[in-house]
Symmetry: C2
Subunit: 409 residues, 2 copies
């Protein structure tokens, strides 16, 4: 009888950061697509200066005060004119979180929202900026984080970029955002909880282990009878999962588990590119078709803990992954991207758990105009992807690191 092939047969993979499962249906890439096609942003060439853009240098913003932007030369940081969270709002009488009806729990959220222009040039993106041009962007992230860290009521700083109209970005001028809040947002809270549970069980950092897993040559020994317990990259203990599995999971697992003792793991590398300090992989549990995870190889809590060398290496890896993305479908590749690092609440335990990493969530699946819809089954049931993470990693690893628009002479 035929054996199980991860490139053809449906399976689900576990995301240890979010403690959730993703369905992978690789044969689905064969189905014809007759649905919605998006506009190709790249088709509309942009000028390097747009007089109507409220982010270009010297232009006037769309606010009440009609503020004028400075004649900035690399990056430019300002507070969002339409912030989702604000510093000044009245106190909520009480947190109802712990009191009253547990089905009507609410908390006040104060915060600040910043916009960071990446470049004065309207037609640039990270993908066609040089590493020297990307460095000031990283410096702006660091100085914004550090100044908010000193702000009393701010406990968490979320740095992110929405790139492309398809990702809700309303202005193509290269820019990102920083939303800082007094709460720890759900995703970070979740990751910290799960990394804490992992550390509790294995006495190691989950993402340090994951870096070792993905870079190990040859693949880590996964024999369930391995004797190397609790030490080094391959010393994963066996038996039960490190999380408290709900009964709903184990009920289902019982139907699929067999008596076989060999462990089957999909073949193929998930590495897209790397340097001394950073690793870029399509994670084993990726949801979006070409999702990547950029991991610091060292256990750093935050961007501001990077050495100058590591900072340069981050600029290097950002240029390379965004360039590969553009080259994949020869378009200005849309994504949401963001930095996960230590909260700014001064909690030492959370700081120790934090491991600097960036997530890229790009929506495209087949081409510049056909995206993956995470809809019905995904919203009601389970995240679902078509091609395998290994297939996606290979496609990205095969892309050039010279931008397709650069004329080679």
């Amino acid at each position: 009888t035929a054996s199980f092939d991860f490139n053809h047969h449906s399976h689900r993979r576990f995301n240890p950061l979010t403690n959730s499962w993703v369905l992978c249906s690789p044969h689905r890439t064969q189905r014809p697509w007759q649905g919605k096609e998006e506009d190709d942003d790249a088709a509309n060439a942009r000028p390097s200066y747009d007089p109507s853009c409220y982010l270009c240098p010297n232009n006037t913003r769309a606010t009440e005060g009609a503020i004028q932007n400075p004649d900035y030369k690399d990056t430019f940081v300002f507070e969002n004119d339409f912030p989702a969270v604000r510093q000044d709002q009245p106190q909520l009488d009480a947190s109802t979180k712990e009191a009253g009806n547990p089905l009507l729990q609410v908390e006040s959220v104060r915060g600040k929202c910043h916009v960071i222009c990446f470049s004065p040039l309207h037609d640039k993106t990270l993908a066609d900026m040089t590493e020297l041009e990307i460095l000031p962007v990283i410096q702006a992230w660091i100085s914004t984080y550090e100044s908010l860290r000193k702000t009393d009521f701010i406990n968490h700083v979320q740095i992110f970029e929405n790139k492309g109209a398809i990702m809700g970005c309303s202005n193509p001028h290269p820019h990102g955002q920083v939303w800082s809040t007094e709460d720890i947002p759900q995703e970070t809270a979740q990751e910290l909880t799960n990394m804490g549970a992992y550390k509790e069980k294995y006495h190691r950092c989950m993402l340090c282990d994951y870096v070792k897993t993905e870079t190990a040559t040859p693949a880590p020994s996964l024999s369930p009878n391995g004797t190397d317990h609790g030490h080094g990259a391959n010393g994963f203990s066996n038996g039960s999962s490190y999380m408290n599995e709900s009964s709903t999971h184990t009920a289902s697992a019982a139907t699929t588990a067999s008596a076989a003792t060999t462990t089957t793991i999909p073949d193929g590398s998930r590495i897209v590119c790397e340097n001394e300090s950073f690793l870029c992989v399509v994670p084993f549990w990726a949801t979006w078709p070409f999702e990547t995870l950029v991991l610091s190889k060292a256990h750093l809590a935050r961007l501001s803990d990077m050495t100058p060398e590591q900072t340069k290496d981050l600029a290097n890896i950002l240029r390379r992954i965004t360039c590969r993305y553009d080259n994949l479908f020869k378009c200005s590749f849309p994504y949401s991207m963001g930095v996960h690092q230590a909260p700014t609440n001064g909690n030492k335990e959370q700081e120790a758990l934090s491991h600097l990493h960036l997530h890229f969530y790009p929506p495209l699946l087949r081409s510049a105009t056909v995206k993956k819809f995470l809809v019905g089954f995904e919203l009601l049931g389970q995240a679902q992807r078509d091609l395998t993470p290994e297939q996606a990693a290979k496609r990205l690893a095969d892309c050039s690191e010279v931008h397709y628009k650069v004329k080679r002479t």
Copy 2:
């Protein structure tokens, strides 16, 4: 000093079904939108029969066998020609879930995918079908669920509909899908876990309590010093949350909690419409702008437990909510919708916990062409909405239940 106003000030609300938080920034509805606008599907009138549609009666499907559809009169159910999960695939040697590297957990997933055409007429939607026409759709859901319930390797049946090109629907012919799997998908597993924790603490069903909370007149007593503990709709016990809160949450709560003892809950009803058997609300914790939750008032485990009266009432509530949706922006309102009910694995505990409900997740925010993007902050940080659930409920409650396209004579 001004007091906290839920219509103007940022706050976050807790979703007890998913155990996660949603940021609500109501003042954000004032910001101008300069971003992407979608096509208005409704602008393209459709014929009632389309010779090129692979779902219309008597037409030929796009499969290898060139199968011809029957001349069906109400609904038509068939197995998906490009299924995400299949019955026949080799066994995976071992579940690696419990063995080997905890960062590379994978399970095989077998299953079946069905398509259910809702009507032979190409230009219909649930929103302009009569209750009598919707009844066969519910019957098709029930018979498909019941036949899969008898299928050995199927443990869960997910019924859903993606409506509109913007929701990844590739054919406007009115239809939904059923994906049945040997695993319990993430969302259902999560809901069951959280409903289980609630029951453990309060000895009541979470959604029975929620129905009571939303229909209570006057609003349930939420005094933290209430003496009515553990009995009836309003007897919520106080003190600690019913979930084991992670330290990341409590760290943040500590910064917002005050000594005040009064509990503030947003004013206003969240009820959109109801009948004897079903309640449709914008849930307190809604993520999507006009998200709704349709709850069975009785504690039913599944659709097939409905009486004939309840079945008619479900058809009634489906017609009314989808019609209101269309009337909101005078368009064929896109959404993903699905039924959550008991798994089919025969687990008695899960069956007892299950409380029949349907989720509607519609993307539109401002008009037929401007949707809400759940992107950067939402993917990296926390779900975020603009208008409050109470404001959304009022907008929907104010809509007519006569479809805007119906000529009034």
